[in-house]
């Protein structure tokens, strides 16, 4: 039988009268890398701390490799943890830091030294064994922290925003390093971050959290292409979200009235028998043109250009839909190459019908 690496069942955390984590269900497969992503205060860190044992569980159960841990102290949960502020012991050298967990587990000195050496080699820091953590750069310190967490061969690796104190280049290097080791060792990993780019880049699955609940838990590509709630649609990447009235709901299609036009979308409503639907599309699925005449078979509307964001390889136009003023984001890389895009001017936005994603309304 396949036992999940980590299983949260209806886990809640209540602080006084406020609910930080609300009946959370999450199954994480053995060896899976999952991110808890969300704005600050969404409960992602509280969830991680409950898994680690630094916060009590108000309700529900947590199982690591099938073992109930909600009543165990952190030191008995067989976890490995990385913190944002590295949290290396300043009064011990690098080798003693990495060996600390083995010492606490009563591993004999000879074996301890060999395992510390192997762990340091794993993160390419074997030359720094005798150094003081204070003499190392942030990236090097975080490598030591990674070695220290992994050397004890924990059942689960918990990462509490470990890259947010690092500058961009180092961050990318360490993200790659952590992901490589995680896959090599096949260790179940929970990663807390508010940086969606890093969550999408590293994870097998991302759990987007809001107000103590998981809004959607899916693979990064799925999350991007098919957000399951308006919150996820707005939170992940750029996109345009607007409401449409349902004219006809079929088994394989639906007809909507959206922004003054009738559109036939070649997929059913996400939730049957609703009077309205959320229409959603990504900037790269829409096109921008200057002439108002002629329209394709999809969604088409007029909007006023508010700003153009140049990203090097691509350009993004931010527009205000006429007349509602709702935000729309459209890729304008091609257009910006041969036309001057003046803010304040009116453009026509086209979205092919098959590129429209319907986001379920809040139940």
């Amino acid at each position: 039988m396949n036992v999940p690496g980590l299983q949260l069942a209806r886990v809640s955390k209540i602080f006084g009268s406020s609910v930080a984590v609300d009946r959370l269900d999450l199954d994480i497969a053995e060896g899976e890398f999952i991110s808890l992503l969300g704005p600050s205060g969404c409960g992602k860190t509280t969830t991680l701390m409950m898994v680690a044992g630094f916060e009590d569980v108000s309700e529900g159960s947590i199982r690591i490799r099938g073992r109930h841990v909600e009543n165990l102290a952190p030191e008995h949960r067989r976890i490995g943890m990385m913190f944002q502020a590295y949290a290396l012991f300043p009064h011990m050298n690098v080798a003693a830091n990495v060996g600390y967990g083995l010492k606490m587990r009563g591993v004999a000195k000879v074996e301890r030294e060999a395992r510390v050496k192997r762990a340091l080699a794993m993160v390419h820091m074997e030359a720094f064994a005798d150094r003081s953590p204070r003499s190392l750069s942030g990236g090097q310190q975080q490598r030591i922290a990674l070695a220290r967490a992994l050397v004890v061969e924990p059942d689960i690796l918990l990462l509490d925003e470990p890259f947010s104190a690092l500058d961009r280049e180092l961050r990318e290097e360490l993200q790659h390093e952590v992901r490589r080791l995680q896959q090599e060792l096949g260790i179940t990993t929970v990663f807390v971050t508010h940086d969606q780019e890093e969550a999408l880049l590293m994870s097998d699955r991302v759990a987007v959290m809001c107000a103590g609940r998981v809004e959607q838990c899916a693979a990064p590509a799925e999350l991007y292409a098919r957000p399951a709630t308006p919150f996820v649609a707005r939170f992940i990447g750029r996109g345009t979200l607007t409401e449409a009235a349902v004219l006809e709901a079929g088994a394989n299609h639906c007809r909507l009235s959206c922004l003054g036009r009738e559109v036939q979308v070649p997929r059913p409503l996400p939730v049957a028998a609703q009077k309205t639907a959320n229409v959603f599309f990504r900037p790269e699925d829409a096109t921008l043109r200057t002439s108002p005449e002629g329209a394709g078979a999809g969604l088409s509307f007029e909007a006023r250009l508010e700003a153009v964001y140049f990203h090097g390889a691509s350009s993004l136009a931010e527009l205000a839909i006429i007349p509602s003023g709702e935000r729309a984001f459209v890729d304008c890389t091609a257009l910006s190459r041969h036309a001057a895009l003046t803010t304040g001017e009116t453009f026509t936005v086209d979205v092919p019908a098959d590129r429209i994603h319907l986001v379920p309304l809040k139940p």
């Binding site: 680690a52 044992g53 630094f54 102290a73 952190p74 030191e75 976890i79 490995g80 943890m81 913190f83 502020a85 949290a87 290396l88 012991f89 300043p90 009064h91 600390y100 967990g101 606490m104 587990r105 204070r134 220290r148 967490a149 004890v152 918990l158």
Partner: protein, 301 residues
């Protein structure tokens, strides 16, 4: 050209910190002046007097000599006073550390609403002042004092117990008066220790007690050492408390100095003891700095 610019930049870079250092040295001048007039000069005078061979206010009867040093260090009484002073001061430093550490931990870690009150209470020895504190303990511990009244009232004792004018009273007074000086450095160092470190230790398999013993305690020893040094020196130099709360068997060095200067009217002998006290304090300071140097690491990147 670029090398010339580089060289001049290097010159500027090397000049600037030195200029800053000089300016910062100026900030220390008022204190240096005060120390010179109020400490170094009297010390030189005392050193001079200690080399006299007369008595009373005419220390120099027939020129300089080390006769008084020889005489003082041949006296078993002086040795007893020195050893007693060192032992009592060390014991008070140790006892005070044990007493102040839990309190410091509470003040550094607690989010309790009693924290502010606890801070206030721990400052009272400073606010009350040493003289009031001494009188307070005299009243508490005296034969007709509060503690004896309670003991007799409860029928635990039939007649007054002699609590004052002994080593117990001196120790109580010295611990009380120096408590804040032990508490503050420990509390300050503890507050500077990232609580995440103990969490990291716990995540690696350490029990709360072990995480404390292997992480927080060793990191806080610098504060304990600083507090113990201050308390030790303060106890070695305490005068009012051993004079009023102590008896003939608990004479500490400052009291002995005072005895020589005023009772025996022997200024050179008193000066010899004063120089001895200063030398002992400096020796302890040197040993302390050898193991716990608060300046260490200040210049490191």
């Amino acid at each position: 050209m670029s090398t010339a610019t580089g060289a001049s930049q290097a010159a500027v870079a090397s000049r600037r910190p030195r200029f800053r250092a000089q300016r910062h040295a100026l900030l220390g001048m008022p204190l240096a002046g005060l120390m010179l007039v109020g400490y170094v000069l009297p010390l030189v005078l005392v050193l001079g007097v200690s080399l006299g061979d007369g008595t009373g206010q005419r220390p120099f009867a027939s020129g300089l000599s080390i006769a008084k040093y020889v005489a003082q260090f041949q006296s078993p009484y002086v040795w007893r006073v020195i050893v007693f002073t060192l032992v009592v001061s060390a014991a008070i430093a140790v006892f005070n550390a044990l007493l102040a550490y839990p309190m410091a931990l509470f003040l550094a870690r607690s989010r309790s609403r009693w924290r502010g009150l606890a801070f206030l209470v721990s400052f009272t020895p400073l606010a009350v002042g040493m003289n009031m504190l001494t009188i307070g303990w005299l009243i508490m511990l005296g034969k007709t004092g509060v503690i004896n009244a309670v003991l007799q009232g409860l029928g635990i004792t039939n007649e007054p117990v002699s609590l004052v004018y002994g080593v117990t009273a001196v120790a109580i007074g010295l611990v009380h008066v120096s408590f804040t000086f032990m508490l503050l450095p420990i509390e300050s160092v503890l507050r500077g220790i990232d609580p995440l470190l103990e969490r990291a230790a716990r995540s690696l398999g350490a029990s709360p007690a072990r995480a404390f013993a292997t992480v927080t305690l060793p990191l806080s020893l610098e504060g304990v050492a600083a507090g113990m040094l201050i308390v030790f020196m303060q106890s070695c130099g305490a005068f009012v408390i051993p004079l009023f709360l102590g008896g003939t068997g608990t004479v500490m060095l400052p009291v002995a100095i005072w005895e020589q200067m005023t009772v025996a009217n022997d200024w050179p002998a008193g000066a010899v003891l004063a120089i001895t006290l200063t030398a002992l304090a400096l020796a302890v300071l040197a040993i302390q700095l050898r193991f716990f140097n608060p300046l260490r690491g200040a210049g490191q990147p």
